[in-house]
Symmetry: C2
DNA sequence: AATATTATAGTACGGTCGTACAATCGTCAA
DNA sequence: TTGACGATTGTACGACCGTACTATAATATT
């Protein structure tokens, strides 16, 4: 079992990640995190000397999760379509939260992109994890340059669907886009069976 | 010619719109607007009693522009494909700004969606102008429910492309997605010539 | 048990923001 | 020319934020 400090640190990161997602990075204060963790405000600064450090810790924690999830998917799932379809299902399953808060990765990139290039770099890396994973899957079906294009395309569909669902507060939008994405995927997979 | 006050008011709205786009709504202060307009800080509050009012004025100004643009397109352009393709070209033409600042409509929805439901309503209306226009165009090709779906899909592609281009600071991403969108559009237009 | 180190809390500082307000300026009608 | 009113300015207030600092409690080490 990790030491007391490690557990407190992890708890702070977990709460911060949740608040950054639901309220945004800029709108989340140390005070908010203090209340939600039960720790005093000063204690959070003891673990993270600045808000930027805290965001970086959150980003690392999230990326760890994403990497593990995708790595497992790479092992588990069979034909490329089934593998790629999991990403679509992941979005569909989270349609409710996407409509309420948007995509955790997309909205963070958006927020940090305008005024915080250094921190946005962290958010971009989260996006890149998914982009590269998708590209690797598409390489089983398509030549390299087309694989990259298709990965961008699927990710753009997902991000666009999340953004619109958030704008309209309508989870149904995610579901409709998911169906469209599956249709698009199935056409690609039958056109190029084993390239 | 409009009175002095009207011109000052319009100038403030114009500057605010630009800063809201490039820095975001939250990160733009009255002081910023004062510097850029040359007016004193207090004078801006003379025209707009609150920042919320200012955003609403910006939203109305933008919507006026969008509505006029789309109305003109509705009149000018011929077959549905040419008409729809204009939206794609609009995004492509602005690829540079999209990569730097994201989509003016999408990023505003994103920012306001998390903490400012009332103001996000304004941003959503901007999105709706485009969605409804797209839906109307698709109705020339498809049955009503499919038209709505396709409008959502094209808008999602565009928003997703802008978000990714912003995240990666890569205008090329917009261009690649624009080509993909054109391909998608052309398939729809040839499948259903005159539904 | 004594001590050093880690963990936690509370508070105060400097800065910025949106807003309010009082004072001044410009302009044009009476 | 005076006066009224719209336009403009500068400043001050209260709130909140990230951060720094000091003191205290808990834990570990010797």
């Amino acid at each position: 079992m990790p030491g007391k400090g490690q557990r407190a640190r992890a708890a702070i990161v977990e709460v911060a990640s949740d608040l950054f997602y639901r309220q945004g990075y800029g709108a989340t204060s140390y005070a908010d995190i203090a209340v939600r963790t039960g720790f005093g405000k000063g204690n959070i600064h003891y673990y993270f000397n600045s808000k930027e450090e805290l965001l970086k810790a959150v980003a690392e924690m999230r990326m760890e999760k994403y990497r593990k999830l995708l790595e497992q998917w790479s092992l588990e799932c069979g034909p490329p379509y089934d593998c790629l379809e999991r990403i679509v299902s992941l979005f569909e399953k989270n349609a409710g939260d996407l409509a309420k808060y948007g995509c955790p990765i997309g909205t963070l990139n958006d927020e940090l992109g305008k005024n915080n290039p250094e921190l946005q770099e962290e958010a971009r890396q989260m996006m890149d994890i998914f982009l590269r994973w998708l590209e690797a899957r598409f390489r089983a079906l398509l030549p390299p340059d087309e694989a990259r294009d298709h990965a961008e395309q699927l990710l753009a569909m997902a991000q666009g669907a999340a953004l619109l669902a958030h704008a309209y507060r309508d989870p149904g939008l995610v579901k409709r886009q998911a169906d469209a994405a599956r249709h698009w995927l199935s056409k690609i997979c039958e056109n190029e069976p084993h390239a």
